[in-house]
């Protein structure tokens, strides 16, 4: 690619990101994502019964280290809220533009359909990272403000100093963002199939929820390694000492597989798609 093409692509990406960031519903969505860790931290502080007994481990550990606040929030939101955020963005990406008629004008920009699709996908990946960051950063700040920064207790019974604990939180955020980016590829493909953004959003949510349900059916255990969501909760394996990376690599491999197949499907569909309105 020449320099001019690069700058054209970057300009397209920039305008796409500004578009995403400017939408009121996206801003409200980010607010909801960020509110969960804050609510959790405040609720635990107010109940102040002390962690340890019952409940999920991450929630119970909040009181010992503020960095558990973002982790507990991620564990809760990765089930539904984060996929929903991706589904909203993916629905807007192609189907939304086709619906409002702006896709036709976008195609007159001299960048080509493939590069437009790549730009859309890159912006969705940035959106995934953004969604995770909007949980982790406020969660960490509120958590540290309320509960301080004691050494982080790993599942293996060892304690991590503050900065390696921060590093673990960063790794977990990146791991979950990778899973969401793979989900975004599925969403992008669905988005090229329809001109109704709501239909694309709902379809991706059905895909996500169905994956979670199938993942809990023991009779289908041969299918589980092939489900996108199967290894998402394995982020907890990064809280062992030393980190248990087997499951993390498996999860990333599945992510890459989904991302490649569904990006290519989206490309095959979008490059030959008739844009009518």
């Amino acid at each position: 690619m020449s320099a001019a093409e690069w700058s054209r692509s970057l300009r397209l990406l920039r305008s796409e990101l500004l578009l995403i960031a400017g939408r009121r519903r996206n801003q409200m969505g980010l607010l909801v994502l960020a509110a969960v860790p804050v609510l959790m931290a405040v609720a635990v502080k107010l109940s102040s019964s002390g962690g340890g007994q019952g409940g999920p481990d991450l929630l119970g550990s909040i009181t010992s280290n503020g960095l558990f606040v973002p982790l507990a929030a991620l564990g809760v939101e990765i089930g539904l809220f984060l996929p929903l955020a991706i589904a909203m963005l993916a629905g807007d990406a192609i189907a939304g533009e086709a619906n409002t008629g702006t896709l036709r004008y976008l195609l007159t920009v001299p960048v080509g359909r493939t590069r437009l699709l790549v730009t859309k996908y890159v912006s969705l990946c940035i959106g995934a990272l953004w969604g995770v960051a909007v949980i982790v950063v406020p969660g960490a700040i509120v958590g540290i403000a309320i509960f301080g920064t004691g050494p982080m207790l790993t599942l293996s019974g060892t304690q991590l100093p503050f900065w390696s604990a921060v590093w673990r939180v960063v790794l977990i955020s990146l791991y979950l963002a990778a899973g969401l980016a793979a989900l975004a590829a599925v969403g992008l493909f669905i988005s090229t199939l329809t001109e109704q953004p709501l239909a694309a959003t709902v379809a991706l949510m059905i895909f996500t929820i169905l994956s979670w349900i199938l993942d809990t059916v023991p009779q289908l255990d041969w299918l589980h390694p092939w489900l996108l969501v199967d290894r998402w909760m394995a982020f907890i394996d990064l809280l062992r000492d030393p980190p248990f990376l087997d499951t993390i690599w498996q999860g990333l491999l599945v992510d890459i597989g989904y991302a490649v197949v569904f990006s290519l499907l989206a490309w095959a569909r979008f490059a030959g798609k008739d844009v009518t309105n």
Binding site: D57, S156, D237, F244, A268, A271, G272
Partner: protein, 397 residues
């Protein structure tokens, strides 16, 4: 782009090819077990000698165990029974070990670190929890993340319960009955099991991405439910890396334990260091005494013996289809606490289907590898056979 412009459908080849590539590579990875990694052929005796002389002091890896014993969903399967896993030898009824009892069903992942006879660590990965067994010098720690508890024991010197099959070729072992060389031990072991078992080497396998030999033990007895036992032995380091027990009733192994990843480098010393973190419930159980396992059976019979003490058991038949008939202690004095194997046994016994015959009445536990009959008279018959043989054995004694 012009080619795609003229033939738009050809674009769909790309995702289909990607899907095929992913599916294909997954199939290839799974079928590597059948591929010949090009190891020189060895006889069964040579392999056993190799295993005897294997010198692996340090390793780290991941072990996955899958069990499909065909047991019904039993209440209280989280009791205190000793698991059948070959690496769970240190279980002596610790409260911290209770989670290890769930190993009788499903799939489980372990992480293993070994560094010589004095430093071992075992971590059971259990969802979002972890149970660690850390042996470092004279300390034995059991850490359970679920309830943030740690149990500490002191181990007297010269006693290492977690020793990974360490060769004790000390002066004490030089009595005439003990084989002195690995070769001698191997041929003796082969002669011992040769009466009722066919031992073959079935080519090679791939375990944890490494080439391995496979030793296949096939019972000559057709009455047993054990179809074969396959032991994979690492091609270069000669340690057993996978054990599979096939049942006559299943296509997949009924019991399998093996490495999924293995590294023969020396683990970092910090892995074996354990200090109970603040806020931990620490129980000090003093010095460990030699664990006594009256019901632990010899290695030639893979049928797990019933938990609980059998009084004066009789063996009916021999070899693979041997049936153990005994009597369970049912006196009140023997009743233990909730975590006791015997009350656990009572719990499951009354949920089993009722059976009756000329031998009497009782309850039957029928699995893929073994069956158990508990009679109402307090007798119990266990064997790696079908229930009919158990009834015959009960009638005969």
């Amino acid at each position: 782009m012009t080619f795609f412009g003229e033939h738009p459908w050809t674009r769909w080849v790309a995702p289909v090819a990607a899907l095929g590539l992913i599916g294909g590579s997954a199939v290839v990875t799974n079928q590597q077990a059948d591929a010949d990694p090009g190891l020189p052929s060895r006889t069964a005796a040579q392999l056993l000698a190799d295993v005897r002389s294997a010198d692996v002091a340090a390793l780290s890896g991941t072990v996955v165990q899958t069990v499909d014993l065909g047991l019904p969903q039993l209440p209280g399967l989280t009791g205190g029974a000793g698991p059948g896993g070959p690496r769970a030898g240190a279980s002596d009824g610790d409260s911290g070990m209770s989670s290890l009892a769930t190993l009788l069903t499903g799939s489980h992942t372990w992480r293993v670190w070994l560094d010589g006879p004095t430093r071992q660590r075992l971590a059971l990965i259990d969802g979002s929890n972890e149970t660690d067994l850390i042996h470092h010098g004279n300390d034995l720690w059991v850490w359970s993340s679920a309830d943030k508890s740690a149990v500490h024991r002191r181990i007297p010197t010269l006693m290492h319960p977690l020793g990974p099959g360490q060769d004790t070729r000390g002066p004490a072992d030089l009595s005439p009955t003990v084989p002195r060389t690995p070769k001698e031990a191997a041929s003796r072991a082969l002669a011992l099991i040769g009466d009722d078992t066919t031992v073959t080497t079935s080519g090679t396998a791939s375990v944890a991405g490494r080439a391995a030999y496979e030793l296949v033990l096939t019972p000559k007895d057709s009455a047993t439910r054990v179809a074969s036992v396959r032991i994979a032995i690492d091609g270069r380091r000669h340690i057993p890396v996978r054990v599979q027990v096939y049942s006559t009733k299943l296509a997949n192994p009924a019991f399998q334990v093996g490495f999924t990843s293995i590294d023969f480098g020396r683990p970092d010393a910090s892995i074996f260091a354990f200090t109970p973190p603040p806020g931990t419930k620490v129980t000090d159980k003093g010095t460990l005494t030699l664990p006594v396992h009256p019901s632990r059976k010899g290695a030639t019979n893979p049928a797990p013996a019933a938990p609980g003490r059998l009084q004066g058991p009789t063996v009916v038949g021999s070899g693979w289809s041997a049936v153990l008939v005994g009597r369970l202690p049912l006196t009140a004095a023997d009743r233990g606490t909730a975590g006791d194997p015997r009350s656990w046994l009572d719990g499951i016994r009354f949920s089993l289907p009722r059976v009756m015959g000329s031998w009497g009445r009782g309850r039957l536990l029928e699995g893929t590898l073994f069956s158990v009959v508990f009679t109402d008279g307090g007798r119990v018959a266990v064997g790696a056979v079908a229930p009919a043989q158990l009834y015959a054995a009960l009638a005969a004694t």
